[in-house]
């Protein structure tokens, strides 16, 4: 069956450290992979998109890697700050099948000062 898996346990890190979140998928062939941030009680906000033929994408303190052989994406936040505390969702955009984007359940990140 098709699955997107993100670590359901919250990630707790100290301010200034690098946070690394994992997204694994099975039985999908995504054209793109996206990462979103969601704060409690709010809608998700788009952060980064990486294509299947790209290995890495950066934006300020954010870095995303995409390994289609391992079927895995890693999301890094360097020099993390308490304001980075949120839930981070990965999402797969299918190669075919219309306009559907499949979201993972997200990983909650807590950055302690």
């Amino acid at each position: 069956s098709q699955k997107i898996e993100q670590n359901s346990e919250a990630l707790n890190i100290q301010e200034g450290k690098t946070a690394t979140l994992t997204c694994n998928y099975t039985n999908y062939s995504p054209a793109y992979l996206q990462w979103y941030r969601q704060d409690p009680g709010r809608g998700p906000v788009f952060l980064l998109l990486i294509r299947e033929n790209e290995k890495e994408k950066r934006k300020e303190r954010l870095k995303v890697t995409f390994d289609t052989t391992l079927k895995q994406s890693l999301f890094h936040i360097t020099a993390s700050q308490p304001a980075d505390s949120a839930t981070y969702l990965c999402a797969l955009d299918m190669r075919t099948g219309g306009f559907k984007t499949i979201f993972g359940a997200g990983t909650r990140l807590f950055v302690k000062a």
């Binding site: 809608g43 906000v45 788009f46 984007t101």
Partner: protein, 114 residues
């Protein structure tokens, strides 16, 4: 710039009552529109999406329906709510494959069916 409005923010309804949630988008034309539901600690479940006026695709057969009476208006409805309809409902829009289907979400509606 584009904005998306979704209301109400919170709604408490009795079982068996009707539902109407509205979503409008400004600053873009012919957007793809989506309704999602998010249960606590769970991922986003796609309920409906629309690529144009009157064109609705349903992803999950259920007690809900959607309509798109205007280009930038998307409505989620139910004739009789069930307890299991409680959840956080999110509307989103995207520009389609040219924009790699990046989705922009509204603020959400917290629905409690009692």
């Amino acid at each position: 710039s584009q904005t998306i409005h979704q209301w109400p923010a919170t709604l408490v309804q009795p079982v068996g009552s009707p539902l109407s949630l509205e979503c409008t988008v400004e600053g873009t034309s012919n957007p793809n529109l989506y309704w999602y539901r998010q249960a606590a600690g769970r991922g986003l479940q796609l309920l409906f999406y629309s690529v144009g006026i009157g064109q609705i695709s349903s992803e999950v057969p259920q007690n809900l329906s959607a309509s798109r009476p205007q280009d930038r208006q998307f409505i989620l409805s139910s004739k009789k709510l069930l307890l299991s309809d409680s959840g956080f409902y999110l509307c989103a829009w995207s520009g389609g494959r040219e924009t790699k289907n990046i989705q922009y979400f509204g603020a959400g509606t917290r629905l409690s069916v009692l």
